[in-house]
Symmetry: C2
Subunit: 418 residues, 2 copies
């Protein structure tokens, strides 16, 4: 059997565990030196392949690769760049083949979300269309948890844990102070299309916290919302609102796009949280505080879910095993066997069924009144935030790996991306 | 020696470790059953004393009290309420004496910041002025780190750790994506008067992160700031801005008060971070993201500094020991012996020298150019964020104590606070 090199790249918004998948891919590849030669990583995702800007991961020590498991963000750089269709952008795909051929690459591992699955699917077709032998396996990753055919997506469990823990902690703060000070705390979380992340905030409710969640799935009803907050403050003395960045009015306008202007007439930068806080102040007169977690939530490796880290690693590992077993155009998936005790196995899905399908939150995960989650949702979420997987610390800060990222000598002429 | 009861209350903004001080006070008091009878806690701080709304902590199990050490926020409730001067508000002080006398209270432990030290000092004078025997000891607490005569204040180290870790993590995220996406990340942190908390963000610089800090101590110079950000983005591809909520223009206007109005003409809620982000977009055209940590930073017990937790506990413990040794009108303090290896001892300071003095950040802690911290500041900060002190977890969430908080029967008529 001929020795074949592999290509690995990270795509789209990074997560606190995408490097754990990279770790799974590279460590597993290194266990098969008879089958896989060098793992080349794309610098800044697929752009690295197009630009022939490859990183030779064989220069990284075993310790450095192992450290990826507990390092957030994208160790090789990621990008937001979607390849066009094979028909209209054939030159891009031909370029990929040139680069792969020049560097003896026969395995393509692409680590990303829905758009990336689409790219990976297109690349998987290259062997047929352009006659170049290549096996393309997609490694799922997205905090949005919206890939189909997998029970969950690596990256999501850790964000969910961050949001659940932060909601609980900040709520205890407000509970302490509500007799004379802040009564309502508003936390804005990510999730433009689906409320998966916001739902995690509702897990604090099982610790007695009065939480109102504003989901993108439920058109915002301001009078009903204010009445709900008012009732909770009357009952508990305080409440916490977890608002998804995708929460929107019935006409589709995001809460964050309230049409606000600064003193110079410029459109004011959003933030659904300050808008909601302002409504509460004007409608109910309560003292409030608000926070916008933004990147903090998706990079918070310090509070990653052990389940999530393990699955991210295992899916990277399985991707390599699938390639070695001769598969192409597939994605390893999480198949849940039971909620409690939590059990899952790793399955696989064909990429043509993954690409361009978004998995929304089931309606029966949102409570009847629209302000919280159901028991079914709680059962789904709890195993995903289970367990702590702390990084090592030195001098008070986590020890995160920064790789050497040694560039491979170019063999081809430059390529014009445009 | 007569058996004497004790009063303990939490005051002002809570922290992730103020309950560790409560734990130190109550556990130490319980070790002296021959000297201290019941520890009564004020429900919602000093308001509990004025309203005779006392909590009998003897109903809490040893396990519940031990769990306070790892529980954020104020277990008995806190308040923002400043007692007036002894001259003008004598009736309030007389009421305190009535309540203390009715419940056999001879020890007064007040856990708070600068304003609370002032209250505690006034209460300490009651024995002389009103002829009631009372020993008042202040237990320091403030994330603002601005109490004088102590090297640091419990609560600060944990916020500093949260900010340093979060800055590092979010910066790695931006570094991964900067080739095609976000180039500047702006994190807003607390600290209206002093830049102690913002300074902690600069600790990420020792991990190679290009960080610009906007301190309240340094009047904002927009052109210089944009030039600095631009230079860092050119050099590193990205940069992170840590802006203190107290950052202000030379005329004293906070950055957060940019005079923005919403569509209805209402003053727009602040947030220095979105204002800074907008400047960067307009001035440099870079894609940005921003976060406002708000309460998340001061309640984040999950990432508390072990040094901070230990000191919070020890200062509560020492407060009781000081009272038993006959002291009054004092506050236990942290006296640093050396930076590295870090060593400190617990000293004490007279309250008349603590109350109404704010300790600002030394000018030589801010770098010459005003955008970062000096080596002296780094040496000061590092021991304070050292060590992790994780809470226990169950089902993916921290196990935080909620006390029974059993009310003591009232013996006195109601009191009109006004």
């Amino acid at each position: 059997m001929t020795m074949t090199n592999a290509f690995y790249a990270q795509s789209g918004g990074v997560t606190s565990v995408i490097n754990a998948s990279a770790c799974g891919v590279i460590q597993t590849a290194r266990e098969h030196p008879d089958r896989i030669g060098t793992v080349f990583a794309g610098r800044n995702g697929i752009l690295g392949a197009l630009a022939e800007d490859l990183i030779d991961t064989s220069h990284e020590s075993a310790e450095a690769i192992a450290a990826l498991r507990s390092t957030p963000a994208g160790a090789f750089g990621s990008c937001r760049y979607k390849l066009g269709s094979l028909e209209k952008n054939r030159h891009q795909y031909e370029r990929l083949i040139e680069v792969f051929r020049a560097h003896g690459i026969g395995y393509f591992f692409y680590n990303g979300g829905g758009d990336s699955a689409d790219t990976c699917h297109k690349v998987s077709q290259l062997s047929d269309v352009l006659g170049y032998p290549l096996q393309a396996i997609h490694v799922p990753k997205t905090i949005d948890n919206d890939l189909p055919l997998t029970d969950c997506c690596p990256g999501f469990g850790s964000v969910a844990k961050y949001v659940a823990v932060s909601t609980l902690e900040a709520s205890l703060d407000v509970r302490s102070m509500c007799a004379t000070s802040t009564r309502v705390f508003v936390l804005e979380v990510m999730g433009r299309h689906a409320g998966w992340i916001a739902a995690a905030g509702a897990l604090a409710a099982s610790h007695g916290i009065p939480v109102v969640v504003l989901f993108p799935e439920v058109p915002f009803d301001q009078p009903a919302f204010l009445a709900r907050v008012d009732a909770l403050v009357k009952q508990h003395g305080y409440c916490t609102v977890v608002v998804s960045e995708g929460a929107h009015h019935p006409d589709g306008t995001f809460l964050a796009e309230q049409g606000t202007r600064d003193a110079f007439g410029h459109a004011q930068l959003g933030g659904a949280a300050p808008v909601v806080a302002q409504m509460i102040k004007e409608g109910l007169g309560h003292k409030y505080h608000w926070a916008v977690a933004d990147y903090l939530q998706r990079s918070a490796r310090h509070i990653a879910s052990a389940t999530d880290v393990r699955q991210a690693y295992e899916l990277g590992q399985r991707a390599v095993e699938m390639a070695l077993a001769g598969h192409n155009a597939e994605m390893p998936t999480i198949e849940r066997i039971s909620d409690s005790p939590y059990a899952y196995r790793i399955g696989s899905a064909p990429l043509d069924q993954v690409a361009n399908h978004e998995k929304m939150m089931p309606r029966d995960f949102i409570s009847e009144d629209g302000w919280g989650i159901t028991e079914a949702c709680r059962r789904y979420l709890l195993p995903l935030i289970e367990g702590e997987d702390y990084p090592a610390y030195r001098h008070g800060l986590p020890v995160y790996a920064t790789l050497r990222n040694v560039a491979v000598d170019r063999k081809l002429p430059a390529f014009d991306l445009g």
